[in-house]
């Protein structure tokens, strides 16, 4: 697992209080991990804080799975 993926998953486990084995790349925050709309706002904030990046609202809306977050942050931190 890449460093980014590991850090993303750690944040998701912590914030949503879910078991690590449920946090797969295709896990949907709302449908699979029990998040509500406020939880997803907070998750995006936690990603911003952890990776020192800004995630604009329209980009945040397209991050609906763990994999979406990893791909976005991989790209954002590479540039």
């Amino acid at each position: 697992m890449s460093d980014v993926a590991e850090r993303v998953k750690k944040i998701v486990i912590e914030h949503l209080g879910v078991d690590a084995d449920k946090v797969t790349d295709d896990a949907n925050f709302i449908e699979d991990l029990g998040a509500d709309s406020l939880d997803t706002v907070e998750l995006v904030m936690a990603f911003e804080e952890e990776f020192g990046v800004e995630i604009p609202d329209d980009a945040a809306e397209s991050i609906v799975t763990v994999g979406d977050a990893i791909r976005f942050l991989d790209k954002a931190t590479a540039s």
Partner: protein, 421 residues
């Protein structure tokens, strides 16, 4: 109007998590005071408080994981967790777990808080200042609002009746129980979970109450002696955290389902001082009128009251003004057979939770026919014919108990409870 009874009790206090453990320690004369833990007090005038003992849940310590999902705990200030714990205990104690839609709709919640999420507001203000608005949590508001204890309790337990909250400073818990009883009496609900919750022992809370000269500052090296209502050396109140909740229900409903009845809420009286934002009016007329209204509503005479759980915060002016108001209501002859204690001597001033926790102590005084002590009352500052129950709990007859609460802004509330018939 329907009769209203108390059928469930729940509490998180500086003495213990749980009603029975708190009561046992209170009667044993223990104090919940200590040096403040958890934040820096080096520059604060008051360095002591009565904080909730945390632990794994053994020995009546408070383990938040027992009461609320850890992922939800992160979103709220402690007063909400305390309220959920106290409400859950009260519902369990009452054996009331509504299953049908009709039962859910007829069960409401009315829990208040004096100041709500003061700690979270303070921390978030710093975040906003240092990191900007994009770092303000989406749970900032919902974890700090006064009515969110009622909100969380209703969501966790599926209670769909009236969902209400009170914020009347130190009278909050008393108003919450009184108002909830009225909702049942007027048939807006059949069952209500009512009470108060507070977690204001934090840097901004201590700084704020110290700034209005309400806190004890002369006992930082002797915390257990600091809360000393009616004693000549008292110098302010000691702040405490916690929550108290009761389950109230209609007398007929409780009888029909065979519930254990602790006491009946027979009187509720309110008044305003219209005088000053923090100081009680010197004649105690506001306190007098609230007590008088509660006694009148109960349909009894003052002499029928056996025990008063005083507001008695341990502030120099407040205690004697309350005492004078009680003496005026009772007259010297009837005052002689009255016991009045301030349990704030042992658990501190729980602000918005105080009235709820103290109404529970009145309920237990009726159940066990014993009155809890006023600790540290070594030298009363004024002579009184009233038994102030110094140092030690005392067995005595308690058929009627009165609970007093007086809050900043000049808001007064009193409850009269009666032994079940």
């Amino acid at each position: 109007m329907r009769r209203v009874v108390i059928t469930g009790l729940g509490m998180v206090s500086p003495l213990a998590c749980g009603v029975e453990a708190t009561w046992e320690r209170l009667l044993a004369g223990r104090s919940g005071a200590g040096p403040i833990q958890g934040f820096d007090t080096s520059d604060l005038a008051c360095k002591i408080a009565m904080q909730v003992p945390r632990g794994d849940g053994s020995n009546a310590t408070f383990n938040p994981d027992r009461w609320m999902d850890p992922k939800d705990q992160r979103k709220v200030d402690d007063y909400i967790i305390y309220a959920v714990a106290a409400a859950t205990q009260a519902l369990d104690d009452a054996g009331w777990h509504p299953r049908t839609e009709e039962e859910r709709i007829r069960t409401g919640v009315l829990i208040g808080s004096g100041v709500g999420g003061l700690g979270g507001i303070s921390e978030t203000a710093v975040t906003l200042h240092e990191k900007g608005p994009r770092r303000v949590s989406p749970f900032f508001i919902t974890g700090r609002l006064i009515n969110l204890p009622s909100g969380y309790v209703s969501i966790i337990h599926g209670l769909k009746g009236p969902n209400h909250a009170v914020a009347t400073a130190c009278s909050t818990g008393t108003h919450a129980i009184g108002d909830a009883a009225r909702l049942i009496a007027l048939e807006d609900a059949d069952v209500m979970v009512a009470g108060g919750a507070e977690s204001a022992v934090n840097r901004i809370g201590i700084a704020g109450f110290a700034a209005c000269r309400a806190l004890s500052t002369g006992f930082n090296d002797r915390p257990k002696q600091a809360s000393r209502p009616y004693d000549k050396d008292r110098d302010g109140f000691v702040m405490g955290d916690g929550a108290g909740c009761v389950v109230l229900e209609s007398h007929e409903g409780a009888k029909a389902r065979g519930a254990k009845i602790y006491a009946e809420v027979v009187g509720y009286g309110m008044s305003g001082d219209a005088f000053h934002i923090t100081a009680p009016e010197s004649s105690g007329d506001g306190a007098f009128r609230a007590m008088q209204a509660a006694v009148k509503r109960a349909g009894i005479a003052p002499r029928d009251i056996d025990y008063i759980n005083a507001h008695g915060t341990s502030t120099p002016p407040g205690d004697e003004i309350e005492l004078a108001a009680v003496q005026r209501l009772f007259g010297d002859k009837d005052a002689e057979r009255l016991s009045m204690s301030s349990t704030k001597s042992a658990i501190g001033h729980l602000l918005g939770a105080a009235g709820a926790v103290e109404a529970i102590f009145c309920t237990l005084a009726i159940r066990d026919q014993v009155v809890p002590p006023t600790l540290n009352l070594d030298h009363p500052s004024t002579a009184t014919p009233i038994d102030l129950v110094p140092h030690k709990a005392r067995k005595r007859q308690v058929a009627f108990a009165l609970s007093n609460s007086f809050g900043f802004g000049g808001t007064n509330a009193c409850l009269v409870l009666r032994a079940p018939d």
